[in-house]
Amino acid sequence: MADEVVKLEDVYVTFPVSTGLLSIKYFNAVDDVTLGVKKGRVLALIGESGSGKTTVGKITLGLIKPSRGRALFLGKDIFSMDKREYKEYRRNAQYIPQDPYASLHPFKTVRQVLGSIINYYELASTEEELEAQIEKALGRVGLNPPSKYINKYPFQLSGGERQRLSIARAIVLNPSYIVADEPVTMLDASIKAGIIKTLSALIRDMGTSLLFITHEVSLVQFFGADMEIAVMYLGKILERGSIRRILSDPAHPYTQALISAIPVPDPNARKTRGLILKGPPPSPLNRPKGCVLSDRCPFAFNRCFSEEPALKPIAPDHEVACHLH
């Protein structure tokens, strides 16, 4: 669709896993996912580890090719673009990964990290311009004063500073689409808010679309009430819609469990929340037949064990894949 910057259509990503000498089992890390990120908006992809959310992010970045289905950028299939289109795409789709330590080259200074990109794309014609652009990028992500940071190596920066550098690196090309994969998960609680605040201000300024992948639902609220959420589990999308609707009235039992599991800084609320899912998540190789949550769902009935529910709208801006609806 024209107003979606990125779209996945009926995407499957299948991995073979050898389960014995001669036997191979296949599992779908991404299982029939259709998802779009609207222009200039934020989509939060919520899920636990193993849900496939990181794979989805990487598909939109062209890092993983779907086994089936299409991945589109501005309407064009990423994996069949011509050279020119692909170059445009590359410049416009950027990545902020999770690990602030593994995502930076240990032998490059801050200046080299940002400078190498600016020079590669020939965005600066003189040394002065280069310095100015680097300092501007650093300033925008809150690494002030830039001169304090510009000659530092990653090991001299704290986790929060490294992530800010990652953000600077992602915005220096003014992309139209950014994927942030659990960017604050590895940081201290007190620093998370600051980083998200910076990121959210930046994308609002630049009008960039954002795919924010995380398992921490409450943090996502910092981006404002105007965003969409999609909840993933074992490769499938279980629920999708506007954040207001889903947080106030979660329809899928899994979403309900997620939200009720979030620790609330209010000791009085302690007694009223209980766990509602039974048992641990199954291994992706042993996906239950029928609904993907059927082995753990307290509301499962006959249909759930034999038939996979399709994603259906139950209100404008709210879709659910559950037989209860």
């Binding site: 590359r90 789709a93 593994a102 995502s103 080259h105 590669y120 090991f155 990652s166």
Partner: protein, 320 residues
């Protein structure tokens, strides 16, 4: 303008060099090795630039061959004479440039070929990987020394005198082990997030391989360069010792050979100076190279260099 940029780059390179040197000084063994290597290089340069006195013509006669050390024409007769009656110390000095050159070029060939093949086959994967891996496997099964021996004997002397050819012979299969090691490192590194980011930024494969990945493996490459030189050195001296290289008394290995055979150094005392001095200069060079390998961290790890620059102690002050 451009000049300020260039001067900044020059200044920053000089800064890195000086901080590397400062960091090196912390590691006394490596620093000593570095100085010794510098001395060897200095001698080689001096010899190659014809700044040393010319070698006097050979003299025959029992009293002239393997003459004991004397203070004649200081310092050239300090080690006495060799089997051609010429001053040993001077001869050994003259032998330095070619041996260093051959060893260095051989190591360079090993490292460059190994790096390029390892990078390409690890990063690109697919059929290219299959092809290159097969070539690597074949190379690994070839018997290195036997092959080198055969090549040296079979090729005409005009070729084997050329240091480049000699270097090539000495590195004919040594790149294979490195290529394989680099390939496996690349296979695991390419899954790391900083490579994903490099891809999304849009860097070309070439840039990612030879920019980011190679840079990441720089310490490993450095060590392999040094170790390669050590191996090539032994190979070269060995081939000469076995009498397979053109007879030239400047060659340390030839000196060794002659000391044992002509000087009867193992049995009498006459060729002893020749025998031992050849051994010592070979071993000393090897030692200096090896000690430099322990300095890899000091040279490449920015953490150590920065600590030195800021003159702060490297203790772990990281309470939790």
């Amino acid at each position: 303008m451009a000049s300020s940029a260039i001067s900044r780059r020059v200044r920053s390179s000089l800064n890195s060099v000086s901080s590397i040197l400062k960091a090196l000084r912390r590691n006394r063994i490596a620093f000593a090795g570095f100085i010794i290597l510098l001395i060897y290089v200095g001698i080689a340069v001096v010899a190659a630039a014809h700044l040393l006195p010319k070698i006097p013509p050979p003299r025959v006669g029992y009293s002239n061959i393997y003459a004991p050390p004397s203070l004649n024409d200081f310092p050239w007769y300090l080690l006495g004479t060799d089997y051609t009656g010429r001053p040993l110390l001077l001869i050994l000095f003259y032998g330095t440039p070619s041996i260093l050159l051959v060893a260095f070029i051989a190591a360079l060939i090993t490292v460059v070929v190994g790096l390029v093949l390892g990078l390409i086959s690890g990063y690109i994967g697919g059929n290219v990987d299959v092809l290159i891996s097969t070539i690597i496997d074949i190379a690994l099964t070839l018997p290195t020394y036997v092959l080198a021996l055969i090549l040296v004997v079979v090729l005409p002397i005009s070729l084997t005198n050329d240091p480049l050819v000699l270097a090539g012979i000495l590195s004919v299969t040594s790149w294979a082990g490195l290529a394989r090691a680099i390939r496996s490192q690349v296979l695991s590194l390419k899954r790391r997030e900083f490579i994903d980011v490099a891809k999304t930024i849009g860097f070309s494969n070439f840039r990612i391989m030879f920019g980011d990945l190679a840079r990441f493996m720089a310490p490993y490459i450095f060590i392999n360069l040094l170790v390669g030189m050590i191996g090539a050195l032994y190979g070269y001296v060995g081939l000469a010792f076995l009498g397979l290289l053109p007879l030239s008394s400047e060659n340390w290995g030839v000196q060794l050979n002659e000391a044992v055979s002509a000087g009867g150094a193992i049995y009498t005392s006459r060729g002893v100076a020749s025998l031992w001095s050849s051994i010592v200069i070979i071993v000393l060079l090897q030692l200096s190279l090896i000690s430099l390998t322990s300095a890899t961290d000091e040279i490449f790890n920015p953490a150590l260099r920065r600590a030195v620059e800021e003159e702060s102690p490297m203790e772990e002050v990281s309470p939790g």
